[in-house]
């Protein structure tokens, strides 16, 4: 088996919250050595889960951690020594933070000319709002996503998750890979100024073109298909499961052939033969009546059985999976090994999100659980920087590093 694609690439990772760690998770999964520069103490992330399980465990698996106090000059000096040993430096602070530390691209290129710096700030490094503070939900609101996902009365329905963090994170990972590729060709590093806001806006393209080309104000699409007309199209309520009445099946029907297979799968009920449902155009026009008919059918089915029945007939449909469906009951994801198990020590394990890519010759792997803060200071400070234990003890006393003192959470908490 060949080495992982990014074996030998070292990433110095200053990211936090979600978008940045998503980017470095991609790189770590593909074999890069990602060294998280952590800090001690509580943060918005540390209250969301323990370090090695939950969201922090999911985002930071496969990474190493060293805890350096960037607020003091000696901490910055340590970080700059690590930059010399790294290929990529990545952060998702607003523009001023790295600059104030003297860790901006110009300063780091002076230390290491071929360094690649990826800065994933919320709104970019230039412009009147470069210093805005933002999180994923902030960007959804500014970008139109919050308003365009609405309840029937037009009120924002509420995203359960933060797509902005993913758009930003994946874009950041891709930027790192493209910059690495370019450096292989030319020997030159560079600075990438990534605005998470722009990464998000860049992928609502057809709607933005409809505005700029057709001057059309956008309406929340609700259950209108966003990839050409479809009817029926939406979620249909199913039979309760173990007392849980929040069960739904998604169905999307575009072609006439799909409709005919759908009707047959339902046992060719008389209502489905009505003229008003004969063509896609008519089904679109008589949608509420169509949806009522399908809901009356689906209400009597289990979501899983209805999906099996419809998929057997070649009709696009799927259970609206909740956490348990997704993680414990989806036979397909289980068979593909999408929820790998990681040891946390003392016989305790946890499961994390897998890697959606299978490379036939150099498969990626989830290798290690997320590190505790500073867990790899032996390796990073000792081996890489060659600091003796006495020197490290002095740095700890002076408040330059937070030394690792053993597991604080993880096994016990799991």
């Amino acid at each position: 088996m060949a080495d992982a694609p990014l074996a030998g690439i070292r990433v110095l990772d200053f990211t936090w919250v979600v978008a940045g760690p998503v980017a470095t998770r991609v790189l770590a999964d593909q074999g890069a050595e990602v060294i998280k520069v952590d800090r001690g103490g509580e943060s918005a992330m540390s209250v969301l889960s323990p370090r090695r399980i939950g969201i922090n465990g999911d985002l930071n698996r496969n990474k190493l951690s060293v805890a350096i106090n960037m607020a003091v000059p000696a901490g910055v000096e340590l970080a700059r020594r690590l930059v010399k040993l790294s290929d990529i430096v990545i952060d998702n602070f607003s523009a001023r933070v790295m600059r104030n530390w003297g860790m901006d691209y110009a300063s780091l290129a002076a230390v290491k000319p071929e360094i690649i710096c990826i800065s994933m700030s919320g709104l970019g490094h230039s412009g009147p709002r470069a210093n805005y503070v933002s999180y994923g939900p902030t960007l959804h609101a500014l970008g139109g996503l919050t308003l365009m996902m609405a309840e029937e009365d037009g009120a924002p329905a509420g995203y359960g998750y933060s797509y902005a963090d993913m758009a930003g994170g994946y874009t950041g990972a891709l930027a790192a890979l493209a910059a690495l590729w370019h450096r292989r060709r030319t020997g030159r590093g560079q600075f990438v100024d990534l605005s998470q806001f722009e990464a998000l806006c860049a992928v609502i393209g057809p709607a933005l073109l409809d505005i700029s080309v057709n001057r059309r104000a956008q309406q929340p699409p609700r259950y209108d298909s966003q990839e050409g007309p479809a009817a029926p199209h939406g979620v249909y309520r199913c039979r309760p499961r173990d007392g849980d009445d929040d069960r739904w099946l998604a169905i999307s029907i575009r072609s006439q052939a799909q409709w005919e297979r759908f009707v047959k799968a339902l046992g060719s009920p008389p209502w489905a033969a009505a003229e008003k449902f004969r063509t896609l155009f008519l089904r679109m026009r008589n949608r509420s009546e169509l949806d009522a008919r399908i809901n009356a059918w689906s209400r009597e089915q289990s979501a899983e059985q209805a999906m099996a029945l419809l998929q057997q007939a070649g009709v696009p449909s799927g259970v609206v999976a909740n956490g348990a469906d997704l993680c414990a009951r989806d036979p397909h994801l289980a068979e593909r090994g999408f929820w790998p198990r990681l040891p946390l020590g003392e016989g305790v394990t946890t499961q994390v999100t897998g890697i959606p890519l299978k490379l036939s010759r150099t498969p990626a792997a989830v290798r290690s659980a997320a590190p505790e803060v500073g867990e790899h200071d032996d390796y990073v400070l000792g081996q890489l920087l060659g600091l003796s234990s006495a020197e490290r003890a002095d740095l700890a006393t002076a408040g330059v590093i937070w030394p690792y003192t053993g597991a604080k959470s993880g096994a016990a908490a799991a």
Binding site: L147, L208, E227, P316, A321, L357
Partner: protein
Amino acid sequence: MENAGALTGLRVLDLTGHRAQLCGRLLADMGADVIKVEPPGGDPARRIGPFAGDLPHPDRSLFFWFYNLNKRSLTLELGHERGRELFLRLVSSADAVIESFAPGFLAKQGLGYEQLSRTNPGVIVTSLTPFGQSGPYRDFEADDTVLAALGGMLYVNGSPGRPPVRPFGLQAYHSAAYYGAIGTMCALMARERDGLGQWVDLSMQEATASAVEHVAPSFFGAGQVEPRRGTLHWSRFFRVGKCPDGYVLHCTLGDWTSLVEWVAGDGKAQDLHEAKWNDFVVRRQQAEHIFDVLDEWVKDYASNDLLERAQLLRLPYAAVRPPEALFEDAQLKARDFFVEVEHPELGRSFRYPGAPYLFHGTPWRVYRRPPLVGEHCRQVLCDELGVGADELAVLAGEKVI
């Protein structure tokens, strides 16, 4: 070289249907030569609206425009012996092939990974399919809605007691497309060591599940099935409130003291000045109460005024804006986010959303407007592959191109 993109010199053959076209575009935007190989008559994605001027036409689909900017177009009938042969000749000089056919389809055509790698051992084949190349759902049918459902994305959107709500934008497809581009680049990096390509199997369902940051972690980390919570974000740090002119996003991260002073100055702080709220852990635990108080407060504000003033105090507030507002956004303007793309045959240019990142060394840029159907047949086949003009006419006659 000054204006070269980071991926200049790479050649990619893009066979994807409408689900996966963003993947090739991400590479084309950085300078890769991405040749869209369409069936004669054009990619069915060209029939997806909206259309420029609301006139349905294969060269006026805004859906197609967005996903195919910067690509070239070659029409080729892969089901025809001559078409296959020409495609294999293209493969011999390509770095990567991206495709989104149903699993097994290309192999049946004699164009599966095995066959392509015999032609060119260095080629990378990236397959983006709804459920991947293996497993019990392999042959299931899905669109973005079904993928959002089975990927755990749909269930958590909207309010408890109401049906789950479909996200805006094709977020399942896009998650997959990013990963497809990432996987292609990773395989290229691996090829650097030994010159060998490989097959990248991308499951859109898995990419979708990966893009929902909290559902699986809550299940595995705390045994919790994440519910729908309306606009209260799962972290409990954000909720939408209503101003007279629209909506605003509250946030209890940031400088709490400044926020409370501001609200108290308006006489609306109620109990928020109490010391216990200084701890953001407590604010998180009792988020509903805090947001209820703040909802009362914002009733007197215009949403944009609130946003500007909050951000001056470094509070991560936002106005809940319509997408139209992006075209007037001062920040996007200052960074030249929107770019003009000339469409000479329509006699005008249009504003497209632009770069998600500013590469200082190797700029993102517009190389060419989205291609017309088969626009680059002559260029690719005659100029680059050495097919004669007579032969081209024969191919067109036999409906190979």
